[in-house]
């Protein structure tokens, strides 16, 4: 951790030395206001399209399309759309990413608020894994009935400094231990803004780029240099190349090993050091502690009814914890089954007759709650 802190501090300190001018964001603006003509746009099936001083006025009775060739020289993580829409409208914002077929595109929904004054919608493309600033077509599909004056579209990308500082900061941002961690580990990731960094592991795949590309570039350039030096001045520097490789390997190991240690520290912090009532386990929250306690009520029994907010992973885990007692669903044959284990179902209550009410219907024979673990999680035994 000390090494990690030193690493981050050095990086942050060095970032302060970057000239302020570098902090300017990369921006490309397509303005349609006060223009004699706008080039590059194509329309399909739109009823009327007029260029007026306020912008490109579009009104359509049918679903139509407005598309433009795009070629950005910088990455883009936000798109600002400035418009006036007296009658409102909506549709899709779409783009054709590199490698896609002519008739294919990715799309996200977009809506235009009803207003006679200027409005702006900001699309946070950093949260859209499919977004690619190298897309060669960008446009809108407008729903029938839409009326909108498009004034300006601004494509904003991270500044030069952000492009360096955020990836370095994110290098040591760790995932949590999850069910997929046995199959793959994302590895060091790059983000380019605070928002993107905060959201990094909230989606699968993460909202960032792999750091591996940097490792490959560094090694590729170094190898090329070594080969050139050998060919031109006949001096051998392969030893230095392998020293560089070793340094990068150790850095990578430090990153991934730190993640493993982070997993263990989390286990210690939220599972091993807590009393059973407030234990959490990885991304299963309180379920594991609940199952640990509830399975004692299944001992010596063949079956019990198990109801949880989700099937996976709770059903399998409960089956394992309680084995050889096996869970059955409440809508199967529950005759002779006296123990009902309920997890995270706040909607299930006990009525005046002492029966469990599931989806508003009395479902179990009369019984009593024998153990309440937390609201919505309890063990019910029939009389």
């Amino acid at each position: 951790m000390i090494l990690r802190n030193v690493f981050v501090t050095v990086l942050t300190a060095s970032s302060l030395m970057v000239p302020a001018v570098c902090n300017a964001e990369n921006t490309t603006t397509w303005s349609m206001m006060n223009q004699d003509k706008v080039e590059g746009w194509n329309t399909v099936n739109l009823t009327t399209v007029n260029l007026i001083p306020q912008g490109l006025a579009i009104s359509t009775e049918t679903t139509g399309q407005l598309v433009r060739v795009s070629k950005f020289r910088h990455s883009v993580d936000k798109i600002g759309i400035t418009y006036i829409s007296p009658a409102g409208g909506g549709g899709l914002f779409f783009w054709r990413a590199p490698g896609m077929a002519e008739d294919q595109a990715f799309q996200i929904p977009i809506s235009f608020n009803v207003s006679t004054t200027q409005q702006q919608t900001v699309l946070d493309m950093g949260q859209v894994p499919e977004w690619d600033a190298r897309s060669d077509r960008i446009g809108f599909v407008l729903d029938a009935g839409s009326q909108v004056i498009l004034q300006e579209i601004t494509f904003i990308g991270p500044s030069f400094a952000d492009k360096i500082i955020f990836p370095l900061k994110t290098f040591f941002d760790f995932d949590q231990m999850r069910a997929y961690s046995i199959n793959f580990l994302w590895g060091p990731m790059m983000t380019f803004s605070d928002e993107q960094r905060a959201q990094l592991y909230t989606k699968t795949p993460p909202l960032g780029d792999s750091w591996n590309i940097v490792f490959y570039w560094v090694l590729g350039i170094a190898l090329l240099l070594v080969l050139l030096i050998k060919k031109i001045i006949r001096r051998n520097h392969f030893g230095m190349f392998f020293m560089l490789f070793a340094a990068l390997w150790i850095l990578y190991d430090f990153r991934m090993g730190s993640e493993l240690i982070h997993f263990a520290r989390t286990d210690l912090k939220i599972w091993w050091s807590k009393p059973i009532e407030i234990k959490d386990y990885r991304d299963r929250d309180s379920f594991t502690a609940f199952a640990n306690v509830a399975q004692k009520f299944t001992e010596g029994k063949e079956n019990y009814v198990f109801i949880a907010s989700h099937g996976w992973p709770f059903w399998g885990s409960m089956t394992y914890e309680s084995y050889p007692a096996l869970p059955v669903t409440y809508d199967s044959n529950t005759e002779g089954v006296d123990t009902w284990i309920i997890f995270n179902r706040n909607d299930i209550t006990v009525n005046d007759e002492g029966r469990l009410m599931i989806n508003g219907k009395p479902t179990s024979p009369p019984g009593d709650i024998m153990m309440t673990f937390e609201p919505g999680s309890f063990v019910f035994v029939t009389r």
């Binding site: 961690s181 390997w249 150790i250 090993g257 386990y281 394992y320 050889p324």
Partner: protein, 458 residues
């Protein structure tokens, strides 16, 4: 305190494994002292559980404590008797070669100590992860629940959940039975039954070290161990209750001993052949895919050694006999058992009867898993780069046994993912990486050997 039962539980299978290897080595020991103990632990665990399985299915024994104990005890007595009978010829040990290279420089000592401490820190963290409640899907639905079922019911149960079929029943029982044996000593305790996995991981590190030590000096051997210990997904499997790291150790023994047979001569060669044959036989009872993915390439490599290895007629006959005997004594009963119980062949899904069709996106998913995620660190480009740069060493020396095995298994897996319903395992990255886990110790040895050659040349 419960963890004190671990060495007690491992003692019988380890001693059985050690005795087997020592007897098989005969008068020409080729294994280092601690290498034999490590390999004995790995193979002894499979051998004893295989015999326990045989006693159960033939009605002679069961999975009760007494029956499991007696089976191991009888095996120990038989092997011990054989050892005792031949003790005068079996006393030699191969000594670790002395390091003739230059003494360690100060910075090398600092780097080695730092990395050593770092690996220990990761192992401690891994142990904390391993002894927690069961978490991963296959731990819950396969490895541990089967062990729990064998421990509780004390008999072989193929359908763990009635009415859910015998899918996981088609897997060999080596891992669950070792867990059941430990549970008989201390009750079903997650930490106790799971700590086996970390011992297998440590065994992988140790066996890679000893294999490299046979080929190079201490520094390079330690470097190889460090490479293995810093492959992230392999470490994750080393500290998780899954069967793939265990399988990787047995594969490594089977392939590396064949490799050492190829580069040895005379009696040493035949000792490695006998050891390799035993590891190959027991490989079948380790995990399902060994039968389909790893046994055929091994058979081809043995055949290649017979044809191109410069063996005498007698050596060829003995090689065929040893491999034939060891493989058939596990393969035939195991396949018969599967047939009699209508158990499938395959891993996650039964591969028989699958329709063949092209599945898009598989190669891309494999590329992402291999090069763009954190699973393997920089090992893929290091391995590929070295194999390409030094292709003569990789393919035109004895190293082809190791390199060839890796490439044949990887290339052999690709059509399974590209053309069968198992493509989902690649697209979702649920199965593909495990196939690579099996090969990592072999990959690391190839990488270290070629790297050492490159650095020596330079």
């Amino acid at each position: 305190m419960i963890y004190l039962l671990l060495p007690i539980g491992l003692a019988l299978p380890t001693v059985c494994g050690w005795l087997l290897l020592r007897i098989v080595e005969g008068q020409t020991p080729v294994l280092f002292k601690w290498e034999r103990w490590t390999a004995g632990f790995v193979l002894g665990g499979i051998l004893t559980t295989y015999l326990i399985f045989l006693t159960e299915v033939t009605g002679i024994g069961s999975f009760s404590f007494l029956s499991m104990f007696l089976t191991q005890l009888i095996l120990l007595m038989i092997l011990g008797g054989l050892y005792w009978k031949n003790r005068s010829k079996l006393t030699d040990n191969l000594n670790l070669t002395t390091d003739n290279s230059s003494p360690w420089k100060f910075w090398q000592k600092i780097v080695a100590a730092t990395l050593g401490l770092w690996v220990i820190a990761k192992l401690v963290s891994g142990f904390i992860l391993l002894i927690g409640p069961a978490y991963f899907d296959d731990t819950i639905s396969n490895w541990n629940i089967r062990g729990k079922a064998f421990y509780i019911h004390q008999e072989l149960i193929l359908e763990i959940i009635p009415g859910k079929g015998s899918g996981i029943g088609s897997y060999p029982q080596a891992i669950p039975l070792q867990k059941a044996w430990l549970a008989h000593l201390g009750g079903w305790h997650e930490g106790l039954v799971n700590s086996l996995h970390m011992i297998w991981y440590l065994a992988a590190l140790a066996l890679v070290f000893f294999a490299l030590r046979r080929l190079m000096n201490l520094r390079w051997s330690l470097l190889g161990v460090y490479l293995l210990a810093s492959v992230p997904l392999y470490t994750m499997h080393g500290v998780s209750a899954y069967g793939d790291c265990f399988l990787s150790v047995v594969i490594f023994l089977a392939v590396s001993w064949l490799f050492f047979a190829a580069r040895s001569v005379g009696t040493d060669r035949m000792t490695f052949i006998r050891l390799g044959a035993i590891a190959t036989g027991l490989l079948i009872y380790t995990k399902s895919e060994a039968l389909l993915l790893h046994l055929p390439p091994l058979a081809v490599l043995v055949l290649g050694l017979l044809i191109l290895g410069g063996m005498t007629g007698m050596q060829k006959k003995k090689t065929i006999a040893w491999y034939g005997l060891c493989v058939s004594s596990v393969l035939i009963p195991w396949v018969l058992f599967k047939r009699m119980n209508d158990l499938g062949f395959g891993n996650a899904k039964n591969i028989s009867g699958m329709a063949l069709e092209w599945h898009e996106g598989v190669l891309r998913a494999i590329g992402i898993n291999t090069f763009w995620e954190g699973n393997w660190s920089l090992l893929p480009i290091l391995f590929l780069g070295l194999v390409i740069a030094k292709w003569r060493t990789a393919f035109r020396s004895n190293l082809i046994i190791l390199t060839g095995f890796v490439i044949v298994v990887i290339v052999g897996q690709l059509p399974i993912y590209m053309f069968t319903a198992l493509y989902v395992e690649a697209l979702n990255q649920t199965g593909y990486a495990r196939g690579i886990i099996h090969l990592i110790p072999v990959v690391v040895v190839v990488t270290t050997v070629i790297l050492e050659r490159v650095m020596s040349d330079e």
